[in-house]
């Protein structure tokens, strides 16, 4: 997910061509305090007119407890971007208050079947402590994300390249997300000139369960895709596992072996995840296996 400053028309109008899976149009930290009105009006106009192609569009509004949050919602919610991100979420009460306003605005604009989902962003120690309850606070939450810069500031530490200071928070947020079937997205990698550092961090966060990473420059897109995209070998293996699973399922067999290695439900689930990342249609495999 590529962060784009909400007051930068050049970047917003090109957002659909950067090749990332999602863009975040930022009204919060990327916008100076005296430009909040300008960014809000610009993002509103861009949402109405720009073609973002297949790129998912998220808008990060300002926190509800600032002078800007409610005005942001009044302008953005009626346009129903794919998602709205709620920054610095600390408690279930925050989510309830936020969702109450979102639903009020949708009702006032006659939006009966809202499609917009909510991303909650955990950026404080209090948010990390409450993350399990926050993740389950509303059915429209479909992703949870960690804000590493604000979190380290809140904790009074410096974010180091090895990420040790936020490691506990990362893992706790992943577990809370997984427990509630949410996508979990990692924080930004600030040094746009350090591709190796970005690759190393992305490999690590993939290993511990994150589904994606926030980016601050289009140059970072390829590195992150390279890490998250499965290799050809992984896809072939997953295809074979799922194909054999379908055949065995029809024969009433739940556990079987491939090349002497046991294949049970968790192995099949991992294979499905790889195939989904590779955008391979499971129904096609099921048809061929039949």
């Amino acid at each position: 997910m590529l962060y784009i400053p909400g007051n930068n028309p050049a970047m917003i109008q090109q957002a659909g061509v950067y090749g990332c899976d999602a863009v975040l149009l930022d009204l919060e930290d990327a916008v100076a305090l005296n430009q909040k009105d300008a960014a809000r009006i610009l993002v509103r106009n861009m949402l109405k007119t720009v073609n973002f192609y297949d790129t998912e569009v998220c808008v990060r509004v300002n926190n509800f407890h600032t002078p800007f949050g409610l005005t942001d919602l009044e302008e953005i919610v009626p346009l129903q971007p794919d998602n709205i991100r709620f920054p610095k979420t600390e408690t279930v009460a925050d989510v309830k208050e936020f969702m109450k306003e979102v639903r009020r605005i949708e009702k006032e604009h006659g939006i009966k079947n809202p499609t917009m989902t909510i991303h909650v962003m955990i950026e404080t120690a209090k948010g990390v402590a409450n993350v399990y309850d926050i993740a389950a606070a509303d059915p429209r939450i479909d992703a949870i994300t960690i804000g590493g810069q604000d979190l380290t500031a809140d904790m009074g530490i410096i974010k180091t390249p090895d990420g040790v200071g936020i490691d506990y928070a990362r893992k706790r947020i992943v577990m809370a997300g997984k427990a509630n079937d949410l996508d979990v997205l990692d924080t930004i990698f600030a040094d746009v000139n350090d591709d190796e550092g970005l690759r190393k961090e992305t490999e690590y966060i993939k290993k511990i369960g994150f589904a994606g990473k926030a980016l601050i420059n289009p140059r970072q897109v390829d590195v992150v895709h390279d890490v998250f995209n499965p290799t050809e070998n992984e896809v072939r293996k997953a295809y074979r596992v799922y194909s054999e699973f379908i055949k065995n399922k029809k024969a009433g067999i739940g556990v079987f072996a491939i090349d002497g290695k046991m294949v049970d439900a968790p192995v099949v689930q991992r294979a499905i995840t790889v195939l989904e990342y590779a955008k391979i249609d499971l129904k096609e495999i099921e048809k061929n296996a039949g």
Binding site: Q13, K36, D37, I41
Partner: protein
Amino acid sequence: MTPKFKAQAGTFESSDIMILIEPLEKDSGRKVDISSTVMLQFEEDIKATINQVLDTLQVQDLHLIAKDKGALTQTIEARVETAVKRSLGIQEGTM
């Protein structure tokens, strides 16, 4: 409505437009001055877009100066709306 203050919105970056507004005396009408990197091709379109926003917001008696660097229509509309609201002192949710 008539602007109360001098105000500006936008930047001199590529794909953006800088709008400056200053109030004029009552019944002076509108004065719009445009300079653009795409003046020959789009001067009339830019002027029409600016006037359309001013009509919608029902503002008169102002001098508007636009310095365009190839902004799209929705960007011009956003910057004019922001500048007008700032000049009217009704911008919400900013500092």
